[in-house]
Each structure stands twice: as structure tokens, then as C-alpha cells.
Amino acid sequence: MAPLSWRHHTLLQALLSRGPLSERDFHALFSAISGGKNPATHRHLFNDTLLKINKELAYLQFELRAGINQYDGTVYYGVVNNIADEESKLGSKFSVPQIAFYKGLLEAIVHEAGNDGSITNIDALNTRIENQVVIADASQGSQSRLPTSITNFSLSQKEKTLNELIQDRWLSYTPTGKIGLGIRSFLDLRSWLRSNDIPSCEVCNEACIKASSCPNEGCNVRIHVYCLKKKFSQRKASRACGCGTEWPRLEGEDDGAEDVNEPEEDQVPSANQHSRTRRRGVKSELVEENERAGPSARMTRRSLRSSKAEAVEAAQEVPSAAGPSQSTRASKRRKN
């Protein structure tokens, strides 16, 4: 157990105290405590720092991970918990009906996955929570044996809970004013989303909650808007989908706005290329793949779907209060 330095402690305590931080804030914090070293120019040091932290956190089944808010493409960093146990249930400040309500909302939002990935305020408040509670004896009279806290969960309580979930960033208001997943859900439920039959992005292989679909109705290809911009940012890149259909231009997308000659991260000359690629595993796979994704990128194979039961079990988990939160590693990515 090699103790971490005060710099590592500051990063961890900031994430535990303030919750997930945007990449901009996290980088600014890193820069401030490392004597002005910018993670963009000192990637080696940044990745080393995260690697060292994660080695220590592994003892507790925690992980410092990066994730993307799919509604605006912003990268966030947060500390997440990788196993569901008795201890992690303590992490929640929400009551049983509130958790059931969150699960119902999660289901409704995920049902919209691949399209808008959000629901209206009215739909959110009309979410039924009765079927989110598991009853041991599922006989015919089970409906009457639902806890009164569930059956009496009023509209005003739903509204209050909705506000709390948004405030705690389990949910969020999307740019269109609807209700979508919050950054905590993206960070925590990543493996659950991936193993829950949600269409994956053709570029980064992550679950598509908010994504752009191929114009060809018969084609199931979906790509995150930010992945799409990355994929088609180079002039030479073909805008055709695998099915041959031309992908429409996005709002604000210039014709070859970015410099073609700008090297991708993997192509940046480095004195120690081997250690560089080895260390890149520290960053979340999600961010790593987004950086790598481009016309020349190696495609990652779709992750193996774990059993439905495992996915449901992961969904049963409780959102935590402010600190390390719950997520079960349901599936591991296999790379080519």
C-alpha cells in the first residue's frame, strides 16, 4: 500500500465532495495542483496519476472513470463503485418509492434510446412505480400487498423526487427542456446500459441514449452526434453509412472545417510509444475510443451481452448520495 500524495488526495476528495466534474474543471484542478501542468500537454503525467489512483481504488472496488454526457458531448470524471453489496446500499439517501420512481424513469428514458433519449415532464410525472417493486410471492393478490409508501406515492412527491434526482445529477434537463439521464447515471450505469439491449454507437460502441439514426429506415445504424462530428470532420471521410446511404449534415457542421493534416492522438510522435499506448488504458474506454474514433479507426467488436437477469439486477441498484456510486460491471469489453 504505497500512500498517494496530497495531489491524489485532492483529486479524490474533490470528486467525492463535489460529485462528478466536467473535463474542463477536472483538468483545471489537475493543472492547479500539479504546478500549472496542463493535462493536454502532459498527458503522460495525467494518465500516470489516474493509473496510480485507480490501483489504490481497486482495493475498494471503486474506480475513477470518465464518461460522456450524451446530450451535449461533455466529458465528466467521477468516482464510481463497481459492486453492489450491503455497504453500497447505504450510499443512497433516497427512500424505496423514490428509488422505484427513478427506475421507472430510467426505463422510460431508455425506451426512447437511440432517438431523443428523453421524456417530457408530464410523462415523467405519470411514470408508474408499482411494477418497479419486486415482490417475493408474485401471486394474484400481490398488488394489494404493495407497501403503502408505494401505493400512496403522490404526484407532489414525484415532483419533489424528480427535482432531487435532477439536483443530484441522476437525471438532467436536456437542451430541449425535456428530462434525460444525468451524468451520474451515465457514469454509474454504463455497463448496465451496455448489457440492456440498447443499440450501440457504430463508432465508439457505447450504448446510444441520444443518437442520430441512419436515414435509411431499414438500417439500424446509430451514431452519437459527437461521434458523428468526429467521424465526418475530415474532408476525405466518406459520409456514407455501411448500407450505402449518405448521412445528412448536422447543424453547424462545416464542410471539412478541421485540418486534415492534424494527427490523431495515436499518431502523435512520442519518444516512448509503447508506454504511451499502455498507459492510455487508464482513461475510461469511453473517452479513449472517442478520441481514437475516426475513418481510420479500428472498429471494436460489439461487447458480449450478459444475461437479461444480470442486467435487471444491475438496474435494481440504488442511486447513491454524493460520493462513490453504484454500478455493476456486467460486461467486459473485448477488443480486436
Binding site: 500512500p3 498517494l4 479524490l12 476528495q13 482495493y59 453500497s88 446500499k89 447505504l90 460520493g323
Partner: protein, 235 residues
């Protein structure tokens, strides 16, 4: 460190089993701290994590000690031990002599970071109103000689615009609950006293407010506030 491993060897427990217990205790402390907004965690709770599967009497102490060391090494948190002060409820209006119950040990997580670094990078600015309220209340009780009646405390808080009956304060929400949280967090001790005019509630400083790390800072801040306001009056 050799002595610690010797201790474990004597009680016949493998490194893997020990690590699992230490991790469980650490997880419990971290999650519980977040769930209860920093309320102290009873030692008894942590002991039960160990004793549910192991019978060795010395094991809980060793595991809790190592969990504390690891929390310091990994997160920079000190698992500070608080000795709970239990004031037995008294029938008369006489102030009771505080009794320390040896079994009533509890723990809180305290950051070991430099205070300047902590306030600059770690402190959750959106929760500043909570610590601000705690500071004001503890200061009032401290300046009243460490003990104050509920009536007098609310009288002082009303001067700051905090009303006992306000359940929808724009920042604190339910004011009464905000005060109650300080009791749960062991900053204050609440005691019912029976006097000639019936029952009255008294608040006094509890072990967390009496801890030198808090009381030292408190006195510094109070003197800063006093000197600032005095200087302002002179101007």
C-alpha cells in the same frame, strides 16, 4: 508493520480474508458518511461487520485500525475517533455532570489536506450554507458558555432572520430540521430539563464541537468576526 501481520497470523486469518474485511469497513465508512451527511459512525457498527463471520476478539480492533490507515493513505481522510459524551436525563433543573461512556466510541472522516488547499479545491461551495449555519449555531452556544436553552437559541437565530416555524427557508429548507441535523452530527447535545416551570430543552456542545480541531478554529473565526465588526464600528 511486521507487528500487525504477526497479530493477524496469531488469530489465524489469511491476508485475503483480512483485506476483504478492511475493504468492507472502508466502504461502510465512506458510504455511510455520504448517506448521513457526515454523522458519526458508531464503532459497534464497524465491529459487527467483522464479528458476523469471525469470532476472534482482537480482530475488529485490528481491522478498524487498518481501515483507518488505508483511508488516510488512499483518500487523505483521518478516521477521527470521538468519545461520546452522554448526559443522563435529569429530573431536576441542575446541570448534569457529563459522563463519558467508554463503549460509545464513534468515528467521523476529517480531511487531512492543508486547509487552504481544502477550501480552494475540495470544499463544495454549494453546501457552504450548511457549514455556515453550523458555525453560527455552534458559536452562539459557545459564547453562551457551552450551554443554551432552546428558547434563547431561537431568539438569537431570529435576529439573523431564521425562524423556528419556517419550513421553506430559501437556503436551509426546514430550519428546525437543519438544527436537528447538528444534533445528529454530534455538534450539539439536546437535553430535556424539568424545572419548576415545566419542561425545557437545552442545547450544549457535543463531542464533535468540543474536538480541538473544531473548537480551535471556532475561536479563531469568532475573534476574526469580532475584530472585523469592531473595526467597522470604529470606521
Amino acid at each position: 508493520m511486521a507487528t500487525v501481520s504477526d497479530d493477524y497470523a496469531q488469530i489465524d486469518i489469511s491476508t485475503e480474508e483480512k483485506d476483504k474485511l478492511v475493504a468492507e469497513v472502508m466502504r461502510h465508512v465512506l458510504f455511510k458518511t455520504h448517506q448521513t451527511a457526515g454523522c458519526p459512525i458508531k464503532r459497534e457498527e464497524l465491529t459487527q461487520i467483522v464479528t458476523k463471520n469471525y469470532r476472534q476478539r482482537v480482530l475488529p480492533a485490528l481491522v478498524i485500525k487498518e481501515a483507518g490507515d488505508r483511508l488516510a493513505a488512499t483518500f487523505g481522510y483521518e478516521m477521527r475517533e470521538l468519545q461520546r459524551t452522554r448526559a443522563p436525563s435529569t429530573r431536576s433543573g441542575r446541570p448534569s455532570q457529563q459522563q463519558v461512556n467508554v463503549d460509545a466510541k464513534s468515528y467521523v472522516l476529517v480531511s487531512k489536506l492543508d486547509p487552504e488547499v481544502y477550501s480552494k479545491y475540495v470544499e463544495h461551495k454549494e453546501a457552504a450554507h450548511v457549514s455556515g449555519f453550523a458555525f453560527v449555531v455552534i458559536s452562539i452556544v459557545h459564547l453562551s458558555g457551552g450551554k443554551i436553552s432552546e428558547e434563547d437559541l431561537w431568539h438569537q437565530l431570529r435576529r439573523l432572520g431564521l425562524n423556528e416555524s419556517d419550513e421553506n427557508h430559501p437556503v436551509l429548507g426546514n430550519n428546525k430540521q437543519a438544527l436537528e441535523l447538528l444534533v445528529q452530527q454530534r455538534y450539539l447535545l439536546k437535553e430535556k430539563l424539568s424545572g419548576p416551570e415545566g419542561h425545557s430543552m437545552m442545547y450544549e456542545l457535543a463531542e464533535r464541537a468540543l474536538d480541538e480541531s473544531i473548537s480551535g478554529k471556532l475561536k479563531d473565526y469568532i475573534s476574526q468576526v469580532v475584530s472585523t465588526s469592531t473595526a467597522a464600528e470604529v470606521d
